[in-house]
C-alpha cells in the first residue's frame, strides 16, 4: 500500500519558522569586516562592537557599628549608599532591592546577629529618592525603588570616586527586647542586592 506524504499547513508554518530562525542566526553572525585588495597599498576594515547589558552598581557601603547598648531603648544606625545603573534613561526606570541576613534555622535570610551562641534579630529599612523608609523583609524583593535623576548613571560617578553623592540609605534597627536577650558582641552580615527593573 502506498503512503502519500501530504504537506500540511502546520508543516509549512514550521518551515517558515525555521527559515526565519536561519535568517536571524545569519544576521546575528554576520561579519561586517571588509578585506583589502592587492595593490601598492591595501586597506581592510573591521567593526568594533561592544554590548553593554543592563548593569547595576551598589557602592558606598560601610559597616554599621551600633556601639554598646546602654541597657535601655532601641538602637539604630544607617549608611548612605549609591545605587547606580547604566540603563538609560535611568530616571525613568526603577530598581529592586533585596536584603538578606545570616539567617536562622527557619529562614536562611533572616536578619540575625550572633555572638556565637545566640542570635538577636534586627530590622532593615531602605530609603530611595522618595525619602520615605520602607522596611525590607529578609530575602524578599522590594521593587519600585526610584533612582535620583542625574545620579543613577555610571558616568556621574567614576569608579574611583566612591560615593560622594549618595542617593539611597539603609538603616538597621534593633529593638530593646532583642537587645535584652543578647550578650557580648553580636555581629552579622547584611547582603544588599540591587537589580534594575
Amino acid at each position: 500500500m502506498k503512503t502519500f506524504f501530504t504537506f500540511t499547513i502546520p508543516q509549512r508554518a514550521i518551515c517558515c519558522v525555521c527559515v526565519f530562525l536561519l535568517l536571524l542566526i545569519c544576521a546575528l553572525n554576520s561579519n561586517a569586516a571588509t578585506q583589502g585588495t592587492a595593490g601598492p597599498t591595501s586597506t581592510g576594515t573591521a567593526s568594533v562592537l561592544v554590548v553593554n547589558n543592563d548593569l547595576a552598581w551598589i557602592k558606598g557601603l560601610d559597616d554599621i557599628n551600633l556601639g554598646t547598648w546602654s541597657g535601655t531603648g532601641d538602637m539604630s544606625g544607617n549608611d548612605d549608599i549609591c545605587v547606580l545603573t547604566n540603563y538609560f534613561p535611568f530616571q525613568l526606570n526603577n530598581y529592586i532591592i533585596r536584603a538578606s541576613g545570616d539567617g536562622d534555622g527557619a529562614d536562611p535570610s533572616a536578619f540575625t546577629l550572633s555572638n556565637g551562641a545566640q542570635d538577636i534579630y534586627y530590622r532593615v529599612f531602605f530609603t530611595d529618592v522618595n525619602a520615605t523608609p520602607v522596611e525590607l523583609l529578609p530575602g524578599q524583593l522590594m521593587g519600585g525603588q526610584q533612582f535620583v535623576a542625574g545620579f543613577g548613571f555610571f558616568a556621574s560617578l567614576p569608579a574611583a570616586s566612591g560615593c560622594p553623592v549618595p542617593n539611597a540609605n539603609v538603616e538597621i534597627r534593633i529593638e530593646e527586647a532583642e537587645l535584652a536577650t543578647g550578650g557580648g558582641t553580636h555581629t552579622g552580615i547584611l547582603v544588599l542586592e540591587l537589580i534594575p527593573e
Binding site: N31, G36, G44, A46, S47, V48, L49, N52, A159
Partner: protein, 185 residues
C-alpha cells in the same frame, strides 16, 4: 696579365654589408635581441623583461569586540598580510571617529586602543596611534595573497576597551570602525 673585377658583385656585397652594419648600429641601441646568422643552423635571442610592482594585501579581518562583564574588553584577530617581494611592510590604523579610535552609542563615545603584532607566533603587541604609520613590519606571506596556501596567517591586531570607559556607556551596543592600511617598504 689582366685582372678582371666583377664590379657589380662587389657593389652588391658592399651594399649588403653596409645594410647589415647600418641595421646593427640602428637596432643595437633599442633592442637587446640578437639576430641569427645564415647557416645550417641560425640562432638568435630575445631578452624578455617584465616589471612587477610591489604589492601588498591585507585579508582575514574579522569584527572585534565583546560583551562587557565588568572588566576591560580585550579582543584580537589574526589576519593575513601579503607582500609579493621580500621586504618589510608598514601598517597604518585609523578609526571612524574622525580618524580617532572611538566606539559610540548614540551621543556617547568612548576610546579604544589598538595593538599590532606582525608575528602571530609570538612577541608583544605594539601600540598603534591613529593615523601614524608603523614601519619595519615583516613576517608577511609571499606566496599566497590571502594566506590560503603557504605559511598561513601572519599578523594579529588587538583592541582594548577599558572597563572605566565602558562604565560611562549606556546599556546597549556601541560600535565603531577600525581601518587598517598596509604598504610595502
Amino acid at each position: 696579365m689582366e685582372f678582371i673585377f666583377n664590379t657589380e658583385n662587389i657593389m652588391k656585397k658592399l651594399v649588403q654589408a653596409s645594410a647589415l652594419i647600418a641595421g646593427m648600429l640602428t637596432t643595437g641601441a633599442v633592442f637587446a635581441a640578437t639576430q641569427g646568422s645564415v647557416g645550417g643552423i641560425s640562432t638568435g635571442d630575445i631578452t624578455v623583461s617584465v616589471t612587477v610592482t610591489d604589492e601588498v594585501r591585507i585579508t582575514g579581518l574579522d569584527d572585534l569586540g565583546g560583551t562587557f562583564t565588568g572588566v576591560d574588553i580585550v579582543d584580537a584577530d589574526q589576519l593575513c598580510v601579503y607582500r609579493n617581494n621580500t621586504g618589510n611592510y608598514n601598517i597604518t590604523a585609523t578609526g571612524s571617529g574622525g580618524g580617532a579610535f572611538l566606539i559610540a552609542n548614540g551621543g556617547t563615545s568612548i576610546p579604544f586602543t589598538v595593538g599590532w603584532n606582525d608575528d602571530i607566533l609570538g612577541g608583544p603587541f605594539t601600540g598603534l596611534a591613529s593615523g601614524a604609520t608603523l614601519i619595519g613590519q615583516n613576517t608577511s606571506e609571499t606566496a599566497s595573497n590571502d594566506c590560503s596556501t603557504g605559511g598561513g596567517l601572519t599578523a594579529e591586531v588587538e583592541v582594548t576597551i577599558l572597563a572605566t570607559d565602558m562604565l560611562t556607556l549606556p546599556a546597549g551596543a556601541a560600535t565603531g570602525l577600525l581601518i587598517l592600511t598596509v604598504g610595502p617598504e
